[in-house]
Assembly symmetry: none
Homo-oligomer: 222 residues x 4
């Protein structure tokens, strides 16, 4: 705001970068930072820098830091559920295999992806952004729940699984996956190599327990 005669202010010769600077790159950068540092502790400047653009450019695409946050969440919710539901309808094998397949699928396509950070992010920030939590619940949690529920119901219908309360049985599977996602983005990075939780082995063993726990048996009681 040069409001005075201005004694020849050098206009500063800048440039350097020239690009499409797609909002996508900003969202990617933001996702990573939000996930690891949280919303409040992430500086927009850091996001811009990570995306290789200037602070100003970020605000060209997202009016506020909060808008950026919402965009990050929305972007990560590329509902894979339609696709998964279809796979489910035509799944040929046993329901036990199906549960295993579902968990692996989730891991390969979501859990082991940067997108899994969203789960942690949402859980961490839920009380700061209730509307987003609600949105996430409807767009992700509920459909995910429904999908798992249908799988378990199939097991029951086909006589493979016990007559469990589907509503709660779902959480056996869900909690296992969510825990892994959380872990990966919280303790994961700061554990010494020796302590690291191996996701594949984790999924294998935990799925095994869950499946046996759901299956029909002759023996076993409380």
């Amino acid at each position: 705001m040069l409001s005075h005669p201005s004694p020849a202010t050098t206009p500063a010769p800048r440039r350097e970068r020239r690009k499409q600077a797609r909002p996508g790159e900003l969202i990617d950068a933001a996702l990573e930072l939000f996930v690891s540092k949280g919303f409040a502790a992430t500086r927009v400047e850091a996001v811009a820098q990570k995306a290789g653009v200037s602070k100003g450019t970020l605000f060209l695409y997202f009016a506020t830091k909060e808008e950026l946050f919402k965009a990050v969440v929305r972007h990560a919710i590329v509902g894979r559920f339609a696709e998964w539901n279809a796979e489910f309808d035509s799944f040929p094998g046993s329901t036990a295999d199906m549960v295993r397949y579902a968990m692996r699928s989730w891991w390969d396509q979501v859990g082991n992806t940067r997108a899994s950070g969203i789960s942690k992010l949402i859980m961490s920030e839920a009380s700061n952004f209730p509307e987003i939590a609600t949105f996430y619940d409807q767009e992700v949690i509920r459909p995910g729940n429904a999908l798992i529920g249908r799988i378990i119901q199939r097991g029951i219908d086909r006589g493979e699984f016990r007559c469990v309360d589907v509503h709660y049985a779902v959480y056996s599977v869900l909690s296992a996956m969510m825990f892994l996602a959380m872990w990966k983005h919280s303790f994961g990075p700061c554990m010494p190599a020796a302590e690291k939780l191996d996701p594949d082995a984790y999924l294998h063993h935990v799925a095994d327990v869950i499946i046996r726990g759901l299956q029909r048996t002759e023996g076993a009681s409380a």
Copy 2:
């Protein structure tokens, strides 16, 4: 695991002349705020106010906001493990009952307490406070893991459980509890009443699946 003199969970019944505003009250207030808003988004002034003291007083007891944070975490970790280990050594019933008892115990004494927020807090802030994450791992995760591990091992030793890989089987139990704690402090508060997850039913059903999944059976295959 309610660790301070204040006997109730009610918002602190402030007596007239609150001489000696104990750091405990500050820690309680801080815990609640850190859990719901996160470290960065919590203002020390809000903590002080919630504790009924002035901002200046807070700094009398905790040199920095970060020290306050550490104190909150340390304070919540008054390892109940020794006690639990003792209970375990003399537990009379079946290992299945023991698992159920352990999960309920955890819920009654930790999960259903404000202290459970610590889990969420640590997970959320782990990457911002790696040393605390490490500390928490050593003081809480590892002992907890060990305890659960001993229980499962007992089941195996006594022929009640299958010969599972104890190291991973532990996570079946752990993930179920951690998930509940996270949920309670993230989505829990913003779900409509109808959608609310009932912790007791959750624990009951999930424990059931896990126990059956661990138990020896004659039938059941992949």
Copy 3:
């Protein structure tokens, strides 16, 4: 004093392909915005938009916002004084009529024009742009003063007016006109219709008082 090709005061009837978006349109747009919002609070983008061109184009014509400001002021000062001076030299009627005529002329050709905003603008920004204030003083104030001064002197010379101190008597006329210009661009727009100051009536009555105040009389004392 409408100084650009655009013949009307209407918001510029933009033709299809506005090739050659003349600087004049930018100056018009800038004048309006500077007058109502002030220099600092006016965004160049708003000026460009109002002129129907892009921000970049504006800088094609004006190196800086400050240059634009100067151009606006300079442009509005196409001294009508030569013309008025000529009219004065050949004015046939009484000096009282002449004063009235001068005030009406000013109103019709300047005051009631968007150009009158310049007065307000300069007064508002004088301390931020002293050189422009000086410039304005020399190009507008002083000539205007001189012109009014000559009129009053004529009245004195012809025995129509008292022997007042011309230097100060001038301000009786000047202040009346400046006040009207300021009012129009400040309170004017935000007064309820009922309160609005009617410029014609204002000029009529105020001119009347001034003229009688300058005229020779037999009675009247302090």
Copy 4:
């Protein structure tokens, strides 16, 4: 926001000032700067510095820059009208003297005071702060108008003044004072000494013209 282990950040030992830092000092400083630079071009930091406090302190007393602005305006409107109205009711002399006295009074108590900057400020910012302009109109302009109107009416009632339209005659007086106030804060400071408008002489001569213009006479016509 120290979110990392923090490698011993030097907490910066500052202090230096210790005072009552009354909001009044901030308002004074703000008045001066707003008047000379305008609202937008005034930096809050400059205001704080001029008041001898830190930026943070300013925001301790005024939530936003705009609140500060409003406080400045409100503060300057210490309605002197009650007092003036009283003086008017018991004024012993001629109405001509009264007009002279009123103008001098205004100059001594307002115009020649830092408070006069408010007039300029309001006029300059009226379209950016319409609500304040309205407020000012009601609290200052209207009462001022009424007061002058009563004086003129007195002149008419007592046969000293002609039967002018009081509503407009008021502006003869008002415009003269407002012009002086504006001038003082705009061109005043940037005129060479030789050119300076002498307020006393200005008021004297202009008042003279106005009074004669209002007074009853035997001669004089259009």
